[in-house]
Symmetry: C2
Subunit: 309 residues, 2 copies
Amino acid sequence: MNNKLLTVGTLAFDTIETPFVRVERTMGGAANYSALASAIFDIEQAIVSVVGEDYPASFLQILSEREIDITQVEKRVGKKTFFWSGRYYENMNERETLETQDGVLQDYIPKLPSHFLDASFVLLGNQHPQLQLEVLDQFVAPPSLIVSDTMNYWIDHSFEQLKEVIQKTDVLTVSDQEAFAITQEKVLLKAVEKLQQMGATYIIIKRGEHGAMLFHEDKSFYTPALPLCKVCDPTGAGDTFAGGFVGYMAQTGDISFENMKNGLVYATVLASFCVEEVGASKLLTINKEEVLRRLFSLKELTQFDIKVV
Amino acid sequence: MNNKLLTVGTLAFDTIETPFVRVERTMGGAANYSALASAIFDIEQAIVSVVGEDYPASFLQILSEREIDITQVEKRVGKKTFFWSGRYYENMNERETLETQDGVLQDYIPKLPSHFLDASFVLLGNQHPQLQLEVLDQFVAPPSLIVSDTMNYWIDHSFEQLKEVIQKTDVLTVSDQEAFAITQEKVLLKAVEKLQQMGATYIIIKRGEHGAMLFHEDKSFYTPALPLCKVCDPTGAGDTFAGGFVGYMAQTGDISFENMKNGLVYATVLASFCVEEVGASKLLTINKEEVLRRLFSLKELTQFDIKVV
């Protein structure tokens, strides 16, 4: 097992409206959020993605400054970068997609950097399942840990391919609503059981402000989200979570359930930073000391000794 | 400090409709749920409430069999017991009240049993704030721990009296939505801060399937709900939670924040039983061994050691 992490997903422009803030064409996309979160760990990381000729060099520089390999971030001349815009409502739990422009994603075929063909860790960020499968096909040896994300759109429009992704996935990270949509179940434990039957060995259920749960065989682990004074923009929190999780796993090289608990805790802490500022901006400034401080807050928040009466 | 707990609240008939089940005129009301939960602890407990002449002796016997003092459960001739009916929707998180009949609650003035005038623990179950205040007025010495519950109806219709209750309360147990409604805040930490300013020293935020949080000064503690295979009926889960919490506090006689964490954990476990069967039926059969087993499940679910990387 090596500490190489291949992160696959979109690099995008996001236009975001919340009750508190509005930004236009900010740096977004699953791969950006995930890779920035993973980058706090001591690992080798590469991104596989595609951008249009309108994508600023400064955005890519943010990645290369963090020693993220971007040799397979394809720049397609005459095409436009993937664009997403959305609006959040009062309570920040629901959002509406206002517009998406596929741009460069049409006919894109991902290609792995040659020195990551043996990566032990892969994060298949939310993207067309077909692209996720094409990435997996290129590995010379099966990665030790494949972490996959998805979203409702693919559940509705590419379900057969998504099932194949899930079958090949070690750790599936989905929201509870996505788990219900995939399995047609309404009770969480039943949905988890079905996802396990579909081939995902580990299931992470993301519940936003209500935290996250990890399931494996008959074991489970729960971590709440950190209560925050300020929630500015939830965009990318799930991607940040996934990147934090797999980054921690890659650095520690221990893919046991016990160690995944810590992965969930690191992921939760990193996502807590993400939502405090608009877009990915807060992820650009965090350091390990701050992360550690919140890790201990999370421990303080959840730990207890049973007093038997 | 003694281990006497005075539980104040309604004894009622409930007619409940969920996607899975329908029952008519089952044993309900905050005091029933709370008292049955508290009754698993080794404490002295009395209920202050009122019923109509239609209330079955068998329902009261369930309480007296558990050594709950019902001498101040007033039976009013020619009046009808408080009646509530409600319907739950698909996801069980939202419900609609179909009907309430105040019946005996009109003009009712609660009266404390003489040997509970010195009770150290009081649970003011969800009820008209005026009744809650009348109970507090009768104590010969201030109780060590006053735990109060309420609901949106009183926030909307008796806010001034509710504020007085909160001011006199040690531990306020409310849902996040109720906390937002009372404080006109939208961010949990800000709502909690305002509730503290209003006089509640400890705040418990109940989040149903997402668990519960305890706040005190700048400290906080979180416990998730236990993931369950079967959620049959959420009616009374909040009352069960409150009863479990205060029952544990009364038995241990330690009202520190540290010990309240365990109170939250016991409360969570008791509420997890409540929702598995319709009405209060599951609370009639639980024993300490089952409670203990779930306490350890909850510990297993949440405990971790930080691995600093």
